[in-house]
Symmetry: D2
Subunit: 326 residues, 4 copies
């Protein structure tokens, strides 16, 4: 069967609580076109799928045509790659187990793959980012929560039930801070957004020193970072403590897994050296001695704006082509 | 090339500080013959290799002949599978980096593979033991130290530098007990032999209660286990505390890796339910909620006597056949 | 979750046109018990599944109990591992696409895997037979038809649609003998049973020499082999011609695939050196020069009686455990 | 260890008999700069390596600096990926087994990988070309010779000795045309350049019809293609016969391997439909019936000018980073 036209484009979709973004992406990771809509306007699943289908069809037509689109990849919270379902996403409007991949495939007539954000980020970093050429590495996402995904022997590691990567819920302080997951002392309660704010408040309470932080009513990590840049000693101390605990958490991860690198993405990773330096110091102190100086700490080299749709485009290539019409 | 005779046997070797054991093993894991010698009688590397070669040759001749031996696998502390070297083994007489696999191959004229004990145990459990049929699992060895090896996607995970699996040196209590590795609070300092004894002593000091333990001059884990069987409350408490911390360590491992099972081997695993029950309770308490009730705790189903030579025989099949004589 | 009892046995099933055999097999490939029934007595699929379920349940109870059976593997003509279906088997009574694995799973409450005979044989040879320790090899089954299965990089190669391995239908003589598949000159028309008989008849017609073959009304490969053993020149010539063409077919296979070995099983492989010697000669003559002397020809080292159920037991371990009751 | 700068570029090198081309390539396959020199001017291996080193260093400096180059990949005839050696290349000036990768690494202080052309082409097509998203496919190179490389389960298949892919030396006509390899009837003798010319001459001799071909003293495939475009019946017939045999060769390949596609590159593939149509027809006629209509025939979607250096750049990422200086 001589095949004249090869499908050379995919659609990457990033669904998050606020916004859903679709992009047409070519084989080399070039974003050819992009559009988005407000996720929370579509609390009915049917309406959401209709809207998503429309956006994808319009984008496809505007950038080479539907017949040139090979498949679709979706990054979505609580997405399970193995089943193609969203499974009990706490922050999305659609409850329970939702077979989004199958439903969208039937609408579009195209193969659809779906995965959670850390998985998609890891695919993106390996294909086009900081992990290119690495076979054993970990991508860590730091923001309002903390997630991770690792590659082992060049393959994504999803674990026996597809739940691997919950480093944010490893216990870093037995009996420590209360986590939303119900447990205490989870790493996430110290190094994700709310944890950093809490740590800054503790630093302020413990110290009599003046600080720019004292003038702000509603702290957030970005403000604290800005004050670090201005040399605020207590802001720096807040990130130092954060990095210390993050370093222990990652040292434990590294001692067991021996990755070539941890690659950070997400808003908190913007703290740059204020976070990375104490993290690195603590990691080196706590990691198994044979690994000292061997595990790289890297920032994602992909732009925030496109990281998720780019990763989702890589995911799209993982499924076989499919057509309802043949 | 018609090949009449297929080589259907391998030699598995287990080198530990005290004793070196060699066995001829067939494809199905039957031990056809076995012999051993005292490792520490051969502090010169040359003498050790000569002795090992002699034992292997005699065993081979006694069980089907040298020409029927395909290859040799060695389980050895600090063995690096990728290089075939022993690398800075703290307790073996031969210092530095020793290319044992290459040296033995040149003596025997047979392919030789070498790996550390946890790696070899994992191969053995997958081929013939509790992990048969599993693709993502962890083998944990508990004795004078604590080591582990995991499989990911059906493949052994050695990590970027071959040092993966050091769960014994993950930090379970920041600022905790001093470990021989130089760090503080390593899991091993609580759950390996000396750690359990120390915990028992702490329990005795803290409690006014009577205990059989108080009558023993030199405690060891086996004695403590025996007293558990007799219902000694403080002995049981010592294992309860041990299991609590082991449960946290394994919960963190599981939250990141999502293995189907942890499979325990080594002398401490003999504590059975005195250790496993509090471990399981603590693991369920500390693991990421999606994994509750999902991670199995298993004891190795292979006899202690043959576990290492059997695992080493599986390793022997991982190398290509080789002969000096063709 | 502490798991006390590990399931250490599986059931291997071999369905062929005449007979269906079930066996309980342990991790090391020991057949603990076996029973069979006449396949063709159960032309209704429902009756067949009922009978198969009964045999499996009785065997299980007789050998350690149902609760000790982990899963079931089935070797069946036209079995597709990826779908668990029999797909258009020409010689079985159940037509079309039959989801046998799912149907049996629902009866038994156990995970069921299914594959075609060559696939199952390759698994068996790798686990317990001549291919143990090999990463790139081919298993060739020779009988009334010719099938094959290859391993690449240690993994079974099923191809893009699951139809890999049809070496029997490679064209060895453009415009040659008519094959049942509709094409002409297929390797199978020369080297499978009917092909060998035809070749013997051609030899008899072409030659004026006396031959034991001339006294037999209904030739079959076994008779021809027997006459080879008695030194019958024309019988030997029939196998020489067969081996010559088989050697070309396998040389082509080897030049493209570079396997470590071809491993033969099935009734025709019983011809031993009468077939293998001319095959080897022809293979060496026709294979790419760099591979001369490098590709081994081996006979299966597993007994005919148990080859298929043993391979099917290996297959059984490839599926995840499953229970209807939890 | 915080790593500020990530190395984001590699050098791809294509060595062929006439010309050696070097290119700096980024992660997404963009060629940033390129230079070449005449291979045959450097018959001394030392001189060649010196020249190659100079070109690479100059290119690196001109495009982001040496410190930004991660590694080097080389496409070279008779290159063995596993050893890093050129092994007995018939047409290159350096005889025997030449450890080019190690020698160049020592000159450059960078990791160097090396492979034969078909292997490199397959990597390129998977990363950036027609095979993107495929897990089982074959790349076929057609020019003065015929080579191939296949992927199985998403991994390159090199075979037991690294010699897989010699489809050009599969026997398509027992007793047929004499091949340079010493055998008769190799597919290459019919479908590579000289074979096509020979076929055209046979067609001319057999037919009394007029043809543009009769006016040309020294035929070559390009001329014959041009005459096809002009409607020359005998030129078309020459390609028809070529395609018929190519179709049988590929049908045999497909029946055994079941690839998703054959992807053609090299000068002969320029014949386009004059070759592909009869090839496709013959393939469909000769392939195992279950595969009819299932195997795609595709032309490489990468420009000839950059195919090899692009593929070599993909190869460069397969080796670990390395530096002489740390």
């Amino acid at each position: 069967m001589i095949q004249d036209q090869l499908k050379t484009r995919v659609v990457g979709v990033d669904v998050n609580v606020d916004k859903t973004t679709c992009a047409v992406v070519d084989i080399r990771g070039n974003i050819l076109g992009q559009s988005d809509f407000v996720t929370s306007n579509y609390n009915s699943l049917g309406d959401f799928i209709t809207m998503l289908t429309e956006h994808i069809m319009q984008l496809a037509e505007a950038h080479g045509g539907y017949e040139n689109i090979r498949s679709v990849g979706i990054s979505i919270p609580s997405g399970n790659f193995r089943t193609g379902c969203i499974e009990n996403a706490p922050n999305l409007p659609w409850k329970g187990v939702v077979p989004l991949a199958a439903m969208l495939r039937d609408q579009l007539g195209l193969a659809v793959a779906l995965a959670n954000n850390a998985h998609v980020m890891a695919l993106g970093e390996q294909a086009f980012g900081a992990a290119h050429g690495m076979r054993n590495f970990v991508v860590v996402s730091l923001g309002s929560g903390m997630g991770s995904c690792m590659f082992s022997n060049g393959l994504v590691h999803l674990g026996s039930n597809g739940f691997a990567g919950e480093v944010g819920h490893t216990c870093i302080k037995p009996g420590g801070r209360q986590c939303g997951c119900g447990k205490q002392g989870c790493l996430e309660t110290y190094v994700a957004s709310r944890g950093i704010i809490l740590t800054a408040q503790e630093v302020l309470e413990e110290s009599p020193e003046p600080s720019l932080l004292r003038q702000v009513e509603q702290l957030n990590p970005k403000i604290i970072m800005n004050f670090c840049e201005k040399g605020d000693v207590l802001a720096i101390e807040a990130f130092r403590r954060t990095g210390y605990l993050l370093g222990i958490g990652l040292a434990n991860y590294a001692s067991v897994f021996n990755p070539e690198a941890f690659i950070f993405a997400g808003p908190i990773s913007k703290a740059g050296r204020w976070l990375l330096e104490p993290t690195s110091e603590s990691l080196e102190e706590h990691v198994f001695h044979n690994l000292r100086g061997k595990v790289k700490l890297l920032l994602s080299s992909i732009d925030d704006e496109i990281r998720n749709v780019l990763g989702a485009s890589v995911l799209a290539w993982e499924v076989k082509e499919y057509s309802l019409f043949k």
